[in-house]
Symmetry: C3
């Protein structure tokens, strides 16, 4: 049995941005020496998300527009109010949108590679950028 | 340590449909030869979801109605527009609803069985059927 | 390889309540004898949620207010109707809000501790309390 933990850094260039991590995750898996088991991909941040979806520019725009509709800007969020919060980023909506997407995903690992469907990618969503972000990749198996 | 990967096929009969996978997941776990560890259940598709909930016909209808309210049909989604997308299924809402549910779940495995609460089931949601769908079941443990 | 399953009980005092489990999860991990691998934290209930977020009173209020906006009280949910359902708790909104949060999370385990970012906590959301609730903590590694 082998356990392998790797760090993956990503740099976002915009306030909100959707990035395909599939290639870099596959490289980490391929170099881990673990043939089969689980791989998990975890954001270390509370205003970002990691999920599995189709990576397509049009759909990425639909996802960000949807998150903007369901988590509205401009409401009187307590997290944005100096009366209730010492956070100066006023990023309550970034937190709530991140909550909907989730902070991490797991996948089977088989043949030294993550198991994904034909149209599936591992996607990172920056929701309060631009920033340097860190993910942890955990692999366990044999 | 043993790693066991199995494929599970499901056939949906409707555009949207909620199915209880608990029994079939339990069979796969029972036949895996792994007594304790983790079991993960993953859809290989981007317009479906896998989650843990109570399986009840009335609640299933409430879930689909909720997804229809929060992800509205009839908006000008880019994924449905030939100008931005080559997808001819016009299924942007299916993608967004799948994103809310998530593509997979993990559970503890104990005594050769998935660990679930009294009212919990492992549920597959078809969001763009009817179709043949594939899930991957990964088990790791001893 | 070692597999370790622990039970964690929490008691909520309100209808809806957000609790930080990070300290107790860290204790269970530290006492498990497993140095590296995966740790998973799973609610055994269908009207509660487990997720990773920043634990801050103001943000917790924003999360509950958001769940109240997106899953509205007072709609004619079938799960609340004696015509369709034998559930007498009339808690359809609790189920739907739990679905958005998810029933469990996984994290890497490294150095006998869960791997979390600086502002990340493991959080339990009671959505139909007050009640005694049970979580299962699964650890697998070496």
């Amino acid at each position: 049995m082998r356990s392998h933990l790797a760090t993956l850094s990503v740099a976002s260039g915009c306030k909100q941005e959707i990035m395909d991590l599939t290639g870099r995750i596959g490289e980490i898996a391929g170099n881990s020496g673990v043939e089969s088991g689980f791989i998990g991909i975890y954001s270390q941040h509370t205003t970002a998300g990691v999920f599995v979806s189709e990576y397509q520019a049009a759909l990425n725009d639909d996802i960000l527009a949807f998150l903007g509709r369901v988590v509205e800007d401009g409401l009187p969020y307590k997290h944005n109010s100096p009366e209730f919060s010492d956070c100066e980023r006023h990023n309550a909506t970034s937190h709530l949108r991140g909550l909907l997407l989730g902070h991490g995903v797991q996948l089977p690992l088989s043949g030294f590679a993550p198991v994904l469907g034909r149209f599936q990618s591992v996607i990172f969503a920056e929701l309060d950028g631009p920033r340097e972000r860190t993910l942890q990749i955990q692999i366990l198996g044999e």
